[in-house]
Symmetry: C2
Subunit: 397 residues, 2 copies
C-alpha cells in the first residue's frame, strides 16, 4: 500500500535512499535534478538524501555535467574506497577470500590452501583469522564493513540459512552463520555456491542487466544459479539449479545420487579427470581432490598440445553438457547461459561443440535467442558473489 | 518510489482499490476495520473505497461478524453475478468457450466443434458468434464484461502479443487481438495455452497460493506453464515451458522439431494413440486429430479393462513423463507439478509409475518436497485460465 497509516517512515526513507543510491550506481555521473526526475521525488527530498549520502561518504561529487541553460549541474558517483564487503568461498581444499568496495573494485583476493577438508569450527576460525589479517593490512574501519558473505558448496535451509548438507565438505545440519557473526561482529550472509556465482555474473559480469540467465559452475561437481526476472530463483525449498543431476546418458556411469548418466558423471572436472586416468592407465581410484586437479591439469595440457585422445575427452563431455543446456533452454528460455569456475580454462576447446549440441536438443528459436558464454571470472566467482550479497542490500536489491 | 511528485493519484487509487478487492477475495467475509488494519490505510480511505466498490457492485455486504465490544461489524464479500469474463481456447478441432464471474463461478461452458482447423479469420468470426450468442442468452450487460481471454496453442511475441507460430493450427505471424477487440468491443488478451492452464490452476485449482509450480498439459503435444514466485514465468522471448521437447530417449523416434526421443514423441496423446494403432495393426498414418482421439479412446478403454498391452503403452509413456518431471524437479525445485488436459482421464492408471520414475531421476530431497498431482480440471483448463486473465487484472495481479 502506498498510504501507510502509521509510522514506517524509516522504511520509506531507507527505500528512497537505496533507490537513489542504485540510480547513482547504474548511471555513472548523474545530477540531482536527473535523480529527482527519475524517481519522482521532490527536489528538496532528493537534495536531502544526496546530502546524507555525501555526508556518509557513500557517494562523491565529480566534475560538472552539461548545462541545459542555467548553472552547470554537479554530477554524482559512487565513492570508491569508502565501504567494503568480504566474500569467502569454502571449498574442499581452499578458502577463497575477497574484499570489494561498493563500486565492485577488488581490494583483496587470495586463495588459502588447506591440507584437508575443514570442519565447520575450523572454517569459522580460519575465516576469522583471514578477516582480522585483512582488516588490519588494508586498515579498514570496522564501521565501513557492510558485511561478510560466505559461499557454501551445499544446500541451505531457505529460511534459517542453516547448512543442511554440504556433501563435499562432509557437513550436515550446521549453523556457522551465528558463530561467524559473533566472531566477526559484522552482518554475515550465507548462500549456495552456484547462486553466489550467479550474483557475481549479474552484478559484475556478463549478465549485468540480464533478467533471465543460468550460471552453470563446472568443478568437481556441476551446479547452477538461476536468475528469473532479475532475481535469484531459489525454488520451493531453496535448492533450484541442481542441473548436475540431470541424466544425459541412459548408459552412463552410476552417480552417487543413485541415478545413472547424471551430467556430473559425464562433464564435471572429476569425470574428465577420471577418464584421463583411464586413458593413461592409472587404475587405483582418484580419491582426493588433489588427484583430480593434477589429472585435470595433465589432461588440459594434453588437449592444448593437440593430443587427440585428450581432446576427445573434452569434446565428449561438451556434447553431454550441451545436451543438458538444450533441456534448460527449452524449459527456461533464458537470454544467457554462463559457464563458470574451471570452464573458462578450456572454453576455447569446446564452446562450439557445446553450442552445436545444445542447438540439437533445444528448439531452434529458443536456441537462437540464447547466448552461451564462458564466465569472465575464474574460480573466485563464488567468493566475489558472496561479497556482493551485503553490497546488493545497500542498493535495495 | 513512495513519494510521487506529480499526480499519479489515479494510479494510487486504483492500486489501493485492487488491494482491497483482493483482500476481500482472499479473506471470505472481512470487515472494513480488518481491511484498514491489513492495508495500513486509514478508516476513512478504506471506507471510501469500500463505498465505491459497493456502488459499482463488485462487492456486497453479507451478515454480521463477531463483535469485539461495540457494534457488530458488517462483513464484505465479492459479489457473484456482477462482472464477467469470457475465455476461449482455440484448439485444432474445437473452440472451448467459458464465462466466469469475478468469484470464479462458471456461468457458461461449451465445446464447439469444427470440421477442420480454422483460419485466423474464421476463428475471429466464430468467437464473435459465440460471444454474441452467449451475451444475449445470459443477458449480460456489455459494461459488466471485464474482457475476453484467448488461449492459443502456440508462441506469442512477448510484447506485441502477435502469434508468431501456432504449428497445429497452421498459423504464423498473425495478430488476431486487434481484430477481436474491434469485433467484440471489450478488452482482449491473448496467451499461450499452457500458460493459461497454469493461470487456471493458480486461481481456481490446486495451486492456489502455491508460489512455484509447473503445470504440464498432456494433449496431442506436451507443453508447460511455469509459475515462479507467484507469477507466470515467460522467459526471455516468452517461450519458457517447452518441456515437450526435452529428450528422454536417445533411441526414441524422431520428433518434428528435428531431435530424437522428445517427451512429446514418447508420452503425448498422439504418441500413445500411434502405439495403439501399431498394436492393433493399423498401418496408414494417423493424420487427423480425429483419428488420434478415436485411437486414444480405444486405448483407454482397453487399459481400463485391464488389457496388458494397453496398460503397457500407458506405463511406458508414464516412465518417460516421470523422467522429464525428474529433470524439471532438479532444475526448478517446484512445490507442485500438476498434470492436465487429457491426463486426468488416465491419471489413476499411471500416477504411481510417474512418481516412481521422477523419484529415480530427481535428487531425493527435491523429489520428496514436490507433489505430483492430476489437474482437477479437464480439457477446458486453458479456456478457464484465459477468462481469468481479465479477472486477475481487476485484483491488481
Amino acid at each position: 500500500m502506498r498510504e501507510p497509516k502509521t509510522g514506517n517512515n524509516k522504511y520509506l526513507k531507507e527505500l528512497n535512499q537505496a533507490t537513489i543510491l542504485d540510480l547513482i550506481r547504474t548511471t555513472a555521473g548523474i545530477s540531482r535534478k536527473a535523480l529527482a526526475d527519475r524517481t519522482g521525488l521532490s527536489a528538496t527530498a532528493t537534495g536531502a538524501i544526496v546530502k546524507e549520502l555525501l555526508g556518509a561518504e557513500f557517494i562523491r561529487e565529480v566534475g560538472e555535467g552539461k548545462s541545459s541553460g542555467g548553472r552547470k549541474p554537479v554530477m554524482l558517483e559512487l565513492n570508491p574506497d569508502s565501504y567494503y564487503a568480504f566474500g569467502f568461498d569454502i571449498d574442499m581444499r581452499f578458502i577463497y577470500a575477497v574484499v570489494l568496495d561498493i563500486t565492485g573494485k577488488i581490494h583483496y583476493e587470495e586463495k588459502w590452501e588447506n591440507k584437508s577438508s575443514l570442519t565447520p569450527e575450523e572454517a569459522v576460525r580460519q575465516i576469522r583469522r583471514i578477516f582480522d589479517t585483512v582488516v588490519s593490512d588494508l586498515k579498514l574501519r570496522k564501521e565501513r564493513i557492510l558485511g561478510v558473505g560466505v559461499s557454501i558448496p551445499g544446500m541451505l535451509d531457505i529460511t534459517t540459512r542453516k547448512i543442511y548438507l554440504a556433501p563435499n565438505l562432509g557437513w550436515s545440519d550446521v549453523d556457522i552463520r551465528e558463530g561467524l557473526s559473533q566472531e566477526l561482529d559484522v552482518p554475515v550472509y550465507l548462500d549456495n555456491e552456484a547462486m553466489c556465482s550467479a550474483f557475481c555474473e549479474n552484478w559484475l559480469g556478463i549478465c549485468r542487466g540480464v533478467e533471465d540467465f543460468i550460471c552453470i559452475n563446472i568443478e568437481s561437481g556441476i551446479g547452477a544459479g538461476i536468475f528469473v526476472r532479475g532475481k535469484i530463483y531459489r525454488g520451493y525449498t531453496g535448492s533450484a539449479g541442481e542441473v548436475g543431476h540431470i541424466s544425459v546418458d541412459e548408459n552412463g556411469p552410476r552417480c552417487k545420487c543413485g541415478n545413472v548418466g547424471c551430467l556430473e558423471t559425464m562433464a564435471s572436472i572429476s569425470a574428465m579427470a577420471q577418464k584421463y586416468r583411464e586413458l593413461v592407465g592409472e587404475t587405483c581410484p582418484a580419491v582426493s581432490e588433489n588427484t583430480i586437479d593434477q589429472n585435470f591439469e595433465a589432461l588440459l595440457k594434453g588437449a592444448r598440445e593437440g593430443e587427440p585422445a585428450c581432446l576427445r575427452i573434452f569434446r565428449t563431455a561438451a556434447v553431454s553438457l550441451g545436451k543438458a543446456i538444450g533441456y534448460l533452454i527449452n524449459a527456461f528460455n533464458p537470454q544467457t547461459i554462463v559457464l563458470g569456475k574451471k570452464f573458462p580454462q578450456y572454453a576455447g576447446l569446446v564452446l562450439d561443440d557445446i553450442a552445436k549440441s545444445a542447438a540439437r536438443t533445444a528448439l531452434a528459436h529458443l536456441a537462437e535467442s540464447c547466448t552461451i558464454v564462458p564466465s569472465s571470472f575464474g574460480e573466485n566467482s563464488s567468493a566475489l558473489g558472496a561479497a556482493i550479497i551485503p553490497i546488493r542490500k545497500l542498493f535495495g536489491k
